[in-house]
Every structure is written in structure tokens, then in C-alpha cells.
Assembly symmetry: C2
Amino acid sequence: MASSSPSSSDTNQDTNPINLRPTTYDTWCGVAHGCTKKLGLKISGFLQRNNSLDDKGRIVSSFKERHASKNLLVCENIEDSRFRHAETDFSNLFARDLLPAKNGEEFTMQFLLEVVDILLNYVRKTFDRSTKVLDFHHPHQLLEGIEGFNLELSDNPESLEQILVDCRDTLKYGVRTGHPRFFNQLSTGLDIIGLAGEWLTSTANTNMFTYEIAPVFVLMEQITLRKMREIIGWTEKDGDGIFSPGGAISNMYSIMAARYKYFPEVKTKGMAAAPRLVLFTSENSHYSIKKTGAALGFGSENVILVKSDERGKLIPADLEAKILEAKQKGYVPLYVNATAGTTVYGAFDPISEIADICEKYNLWLHVDAAWGGGLLMSRRHQHKLNGIERANSVTWNPHKMMGVLLQCSAILLREKGILQGCNQMCAGYLFQQDKQYDISYDTGDKAIQCGRHVDIFKFWLMWKAKGTVGFEAQINKCLELADYLYSKIYNRDGFEMVLKGEPEHTNVCFWYIPPSLRGMPNSEERQEKLHRVAPKIKALMMESGTTMVGYQPHGDKVNFFRMVISNPAATKSDIDFLVEEIERLGQEL
Amino acid sequence: MASSSPSSSDTNQDTNPINLRPTTYDTWCGVAHGCTKKLGLKISGFLQRNNSLDDKGRIVSSFKERHASKNLLVCENIEDSRFRHAETDFSNLFARDLLPAKNGEEFTMQFLLEVVDILLNYVRKTFDRSTKVLDFHHPHQLLEGIEGFNLELSDNPESLEQILVDCRDTLKYGVRTGHPRFFNQLSTGLDIIGLAGEWLTSTANTNMFTYEIAPVFVLMEQITLRKMREIIGWTEKDGDGIFSPGGAISNMYSIMAARYKYFPEVKTKGMAAAPRLVLFTSENSHYSIKKTGAALGFGSENVILVKSDERGKLIPADLEAKILEAKQKGYVPLYVNATAGTTVYGAFDPISEIADICEKYNLWLHVDAAWGGGLLMSRRHQHKLNGIERANSVTWNPHKMMGVLLQCSAILLREKGILQGCNQMCAGYLFQQDKQYDISYDTGDKAIQCGRHVDIFKFWLMWKAKGTVGFEAQINKCLELADYLYSKIYNRDGFEMVLKGEPEHTNVCFWYIPPSLRGMPNSEERQEKLHRVAPKIKALMMESGTTMVGYQPHGDKVNFFRMVISNPAATKSDIDFLVEEIERLGQEL
């Protein structure tokens, strides 16, 4: 333990390494596996490798004999032991030899340490710019089995050696989303504290539904949600919220909450009990509003798309016009979604003006800040979400701009009780009323899930480790990089910006114009050709594995690149690299 | 790498440990951090601990200097390096000193190795029966901060030393769901292969929506789902499915699929476009059918509860009567859920008879095998799900009976295309049609989520490591233990079974009758007293931390214990322990 106090013999030991001099293999192993904590020294054990199968068997047997007693591995007299990674032959070992198998402890520790070695190498290489972002293969190639990497499942077990190879191959043919040159999604990066948190979460392997089996995590969730509500600016003492499996589900919760608030009878009687309800969201908003509107029984046609301006921001006048139009048709406006950070343009809808309209017509205001919520952590950028404190609910995904590992999405509500009212079904076997503790901490009945993954711990741990100021610095840095990219390509030959003006978020959208198209007048032919440029560059990029950035058509605009920066590992040199790589790959198109 | 070949010098080294004898501190450090792979020896480095803050700072600085070049840590000439755990002072280190910080690699590796040490100790103790299952504290105690464990978040960062302490405390005050005496939920155990898989998943930190960023995981999901469909017995070449965040969401998918199959216009026009649709499920089924029925706009009243027999199995005659009754009222029956393994009793509904009725009335048949699906892996027990091959959809949670880490739940469909049709919204920025690979592998548009956590890898890896036969053995063992428990308490003084006959699943439901109630006639007073017994024993159990088992009232039955066994680490001795512990704690009530 880092905080344990050293014994006075530590310093003596400094100049007296004589105890570290075993003279035979066995003595050496004894030292290596013995408890040397008192000496302040940690020495890993080892076993010689051997190629011969017979010898392998012999070594494993001998290993088993020598380590049958767990005291050889674990120093029982101290609270937490330091485990020593010993060379182990896994070719004759199987899952059944691990815990809970009798004498399985040593093999379990060695197997997990071997896995950790693979993972640490992966982490190290992820941050190493000489490593590729990906080693691209087509689906049929991976399905056929590259270099013996067989994805098929079989009746019989594979050796642990093969399992370790499978782990290496899985990482080898995957995509390094934490690489400083991976710009493909809104969620990038590999935060080390978050990683530690997620490893711990997996090891704790519990479920969020009750305080009974997740006491610490349930409280961490409550405290973190409260902190997030404060940052949003809600002054109510008792708001609500829950972490959900992603922004789409968080948005789904917001619609369910709005419906329950205004038409609680829908819970029991169905949509038939309500008039024709309509929802409003901008044409630039995330597709999950429409998708969950369809799922919840509103129908996608009743999710009305409001026009956006040339920067992708919802136009309040059009919202009001569409509300009036709906009312005139006899429909009942229920809910408006304002987006803080649209997916493609990174646009922030004018929340205050939208809030005015929602107040005027008594509508639920939801702010989808899945992507832009992180900016609330920055004193420099939080003004872009002004008005969010007037929302009834907010979606905020720490797994995007805040760099939390996937996944971590919160739905936050200003009013307490709606989630519970909306979702509770009072399953007696899970939510007993006669427990010995305060059951108001059981969260399960306000979720639409039953079991719920622990998404909070990594986030809580990152917040502890960075502080609010750490998130702020990280977010400011990403936004500065976006400015840097914008300034770099704004007037650069061969680049054309999709939007006028500096970026508000880290989204920078642009076309690369290959030399062959540069002189061409803006005709349909040029547009068609330009439409094919980004996919071609992207394909070349993936095949060379050097970097990744997304592209898409949008509205009436042909395919363009959408650069987003959420990885604190990215630097100006990576931005330079991306620009030059696009030029290199697009030169001949 | 386990498969790398050793050099011939390895064996020579066996009897020649002379190179391991450094004579001064610095020389020793040199050996410890040098690249000794060639010698086949791994020795961890070390730093002396020191209590003085000044000295700490000095040591860290010196450590930084000596390790500025990453070559000291990492042997660059080999593909994968073995990392050496060195004693490191984390009290002056912060998250900002880790990668991507310049020279952050060494600290990153040492920090993660320290975390791994904490986790390995936790794993070891989880399987150690002398360790408590939990160290119970009330919410207010944890919120007040026990022994300095402060859950509140602050503006400023904490040192990595404090972060490590926070990790230890988080585990200390949690519940060991993998402990062989934790019987509290349907998901128990801590599978080592699954754990390795989940650590890797966290490290890969990607998202399931496209092949582009999760090529290997997307294919593993496809292959595993196909295998599961084969085991269900569907003969169609092209079924469908997806892993979802838990059984409740999987059940939600089944209802959405049924609705889309029969009333596709609801997607665009809402529930108003359909007649009054009704769903059927047994009174013993999981509450998520009702909950998601409410969420999707059917209304909980339109989820009609069918009677169960005394064992908790749906009564087909009552199903048919309720269908006819609904039709007579002008409602339109849409969907029947049959449960394979109910939550409390572990009952299997008679699927074949239910399938006959569904065929007769042209209804969608869903089988909720979240809990019982694992039995399909056992040739001895799979007959309990006979008829499942006639279902249109199946929920199957490998995180329950198969011991996969949380969470891992699959919704499987016999017919391909429904999920896609039901959920797709064609977001151009995510699901581009002009990619260079076969985009039919992109799964995002059939999900109700946008981002989707990688739940497949741990399961795939476990299947590889155990084979189908390994799962079979593990499941058979759990069912044998349930039989053992049943035989043990069936005629035991002070125990009364809730159900007649041997258990079908691992659920064993019973009352413990304290000596004070044993002679008492079955009066209302006795029932009231008995109702309070299980909660009291449970509270004492949690406070002593020795074991955990669930209880609940059910229908007209007062609180009883529901024992479930899904942890392959449990043995007969643990069952004996539980029974004796209940007797010990309940003796005086």
C-alpha cells in the first residue's frame, strides 16, 4: 500500500543488498516468491521457458508442486500482497485450472498478470504515434481467420495460452480509439484514471439496482448527479437523474418524463389515453429523438423537425410557427428538444429563446447536451449553454467531451419524483419495503432497465483525480486545438470550410478539394466528384492506418470531413499530421 | 509472449545466477530496469520508501531523471514488453503526470500495476471463505465519510496515492458478488476469463455501432448470436439479434419487434394508428414486460396477467381464456411472453402449449429466458425449454446462469430484418452508404441505442476458454447444488418449503420457522410473525457479513427466502454454511 509506513530497516537495506544474492535457482525462487515486504523490496519470480512439450509438462507439474501452498504466492501476514509476475507455461492450462479450482490461485494471478501485460503494452502503444491507429481488414478476411485468429466458437475449451493469443489478436485487429490521431467519433481518448476505474468496476461486478448490493456506487452516482445538477445551474434542492446506457436512452427518458408529467394516465392506459402529442427538435439534432419518439408510441411523424440556420442552430421563430401550426391542426405540443452541441456542426441551439417559447406554451424543455455538456465545466465556454438552467431535463454524456470511458451518460431532471412515478412497478422481490436500511437509496425502480451496469465509478474517480479544474483544462485544450485547425485550413489551398466563422465546439467541417477539382466551376459535375473525394480519402486512410476522421453528407451538402477533438492526448502536431495526410492521400484524386 | 521461443541461453542461465548480483543500489536498479528478456529473467525494480516529504520529492525527481527515457522501462527490441512493478511514491503524483503527459509512461505503468495489485488482492479474497461477503454500513455512515473515505467531489485534484486509497475503500465497502456465499441475485460469481475479457474491453474502449471502429467485436457478436440461435433450435439461416443493456431492454426489443411485424405503421404514425393492442404474460413473469409495455405506449393495463399454477407456471387454458376475453372486448391480442425460469420460483412456462395457442391466434411468441436460457447449454436440462424453437424472439442473459460478467444480455429473433426495419433512422453521419467495406456489418441502426457498450468480448472469450462443454458442466453443477439444498432442508426441522417437489431451476424457496413459532397453529398471527422473520435474519446476515440470500413476499405468501445458485465457486459446504447460518441467526427470533 502506498500509504503504509516503511520500517526502519528500509534505509539500512539500501546499502546492504547481500540478502538479494541467492546462489542457486531454488534459493532464488524462494527469495523471489517469499515475502520481502518488510525489506521494502519487491522481486518478481521467474520460471525458465522451455520449448519441449514434455519439459513443459514437467515444468508445470513442478511449478504446481512448489506453489501448491498459496503462502508461497501470497504473504498472509500483510493486508494487501504484491503479486509477482512469474513466467508460466499456459499451454497445458485451461479455464478450469483457475479459481475457484483448488490450488487455482497461483495460476489465476499469473494469468491475469499476463493479460495485464498485454493490456499495458496496448496502452503504451496507443499513445505512441509510431503505432498505427488500425490495421484494417475487410469482414470476410477476419471471418476467414487471419494468421490463425479463429473467431468461431467450439464445443471444447482452448488452452489459456490460446486465450492469451486471442486477446492479443483482438487488440491487434481492433481500432485504437485512444490514439492521438483517432478523430473519428465524439468519444475518443483513453483516460488512464478512467481505465483504472473501469478495471475496478469489472472486478467489483455488481449491479446498480439497490443500495444492498452496490452501496458505494449508488452513493457515488447520487453525489455526482447532484454535482452535475449544480453545474447546470438548477437551484432546486432535490432534482433527480440516473446514468443510462447512452445518450439515446437518456433522451428516451426525457420524453417519457415529459409524457408522464403532462399525461400520467398514459402509463396505465397507453397512448390512446392522450391526444395526438407532438415533439419538436431541430433538423440538426440527434436522430435518437425521432428514434425513441417512434419507439415510445408517438410515431416518427409526430416528431416535428424545426429549421436550423446556416450554422446549424435551431431557429426559434420557426419553432414557434411549427408549434402554432400543430395546435391549429388540433395536435398537442408536449416537448421541445434543444441541442447543445449538434453531432455534425457542433452547433448550440439558443436555449434561452427556446425556453421563452416553452414557457409561453407550457412545454417540457429538454436540452440534449450529450456532446456539448462538457463545456459546462469550462468557465471560458459554459456561456454557450446559457439558458440550460431553465430546462426540465438535460442529457449529458461524460463519455464524450469529458473523456470518460464508454459508456457514461446521464439524464438529469430538475424535478424529483417524475422518474420514479413514470417507471416504478414495485417488484416485491427486488425492492422490499422492510429492509434494515433507508430504501430511498434503491434506484432500480426509476430505471427502465432492471439490472444496470455501474457506469459511475470511472467518472467519479476521474473527477476525484482531476478535480473540476482538470476537466476544465482538458476541455479548453481540445477547443484550442479546434481553433488551431480552423486557422490552419481556413485559407489553405485545397480546403473549403462548410461553415462560416470560427468553431463554437470542436467540430470543424471542411471539404478537401483535390488539385484536379480546384479550377473547376461549381457545377453539378464538380459536386458529384467532390462527393466521392472524402470516402476515397477515408478508405485510403483506413488502409494505411495512419489516422481516422469521419465524413458524411449533410442536408444538401455533399460529403465533407467532420473533424472533432475530444482526446486530450491530441496536440497541434497531430492536427498538422491530419491535414498533411489528407493532402497526401487526396493529391491524386 | 507465451508463445515466443526462448533463447538457448535460458537454460544456461538456470545454474548461473551470477548476473543477478548487483553490488550497489544503482547497479541493482540498472539490472532491475534493464532489458533482461534475453536472459529469460524478470526482476522488478524498486525504490526505497521514505517518510519525509522532502525526501519523497527528491526520490521522485531522481526517479524521473533516471526514467526519462522510456527505454529504461520498455525493451524496444521486442514486440511485447514485460512491465516491472516498481515501488513508486504516488503522493506527489497526479493524474496530469500520467499519459499523455511527457515522460508519463513510467508513472502510468506503475500506477496501473498498483491498481492491478489492489484488484488481484480483491480477487484472491473474494474466493477466500474467511473473507466477509460485505462490510455493511448504512447510507448515512458512508455519506459522513468512514475513516476518511470522502465521497464528495471537489474542484481540485487528489494525488494518485489518494486515488489508490479511494480504490481500496470502494472495494472495501462494497459487496463481494463473486464470493462463494453470495446468493443474493441471479447474477453471482466472478469468472476469471470473463474478468480478463472485461479488462480488455475497457482498454479497447470502443463502441459497437459500426464495423469501422469495432471490427472484431462486431463479428464476434454476429458469430455468438448465430451460435445462440442454433442452440435455441431455429433452423432459419438468417435470424437476427443484438446484445442489449439487460433483460428489460431485451424484452423491450421483443415487444417493439412484434408491434413492427404486425403494425409497422406505428413507427411513423404512433400508437394511434393501431387498434387497442394487448400483451399477455404470466403473473409470475418479470416486471419488465409491464414496465416496457407502459414505456412503449401500450399502457400497463394492456399487459394482461395470466394465472400461474402452484409451481409458478403459466396456465395455458387461462391464457386462451384471456385472449378470447380481450378479443370479445374488441382489443387486439398481439404478443405473448412465456417465461423460461421465473425470477422467484424458477418456473418454466409450458412453451409448446403456449406456442400452439400463439399459432392458433396468430400472436407473436416471445420467450423470456433471461434466467433459464443458460439451461439450453446442458443436455441434461435443456428439455425444460422444449418449444423455445417455436418462439419468434428470445431474451437470454449470459450474465445470469452462464456466469458472464455484468452486463451481457441478448435479444434473439427468428426473422431477419425486423430489428432493422423497426429501428432504423438512417443517420447519414454515422452510417454512410459509400464506405469501402460491406456496411451490412454495421449494427447501429437496428439498436434503440446509438452508442452501445461492448458486451460481447467477455462472453466470447469465456466460450472459447470453456467450450460449450465447460458451460454445460458449470450449469449442471449449480443445478446439482440446488438439489442438494432441497434434499437437505426438505425434511429439516425449522424449514418449510414454499413449493412442493424438487426444483426445476436453482431457485429453492423456503421459510425458516424459528423455534418460537414451531408449535403455533397456522393463524394470522403466526403469518404476521413469520413475515417478519426473513427480513430480520437478512439484516443480521448483512450486519455479520457472512452470507447473503434474498427474500420477498410473493402473491399471498409472506416473506420467504429465495435461494438461487449461479456461482460455480459455490460448493456443498457453502450450502451447509448458509443453512446453519440461517439457523444461528434465526434461533432466538
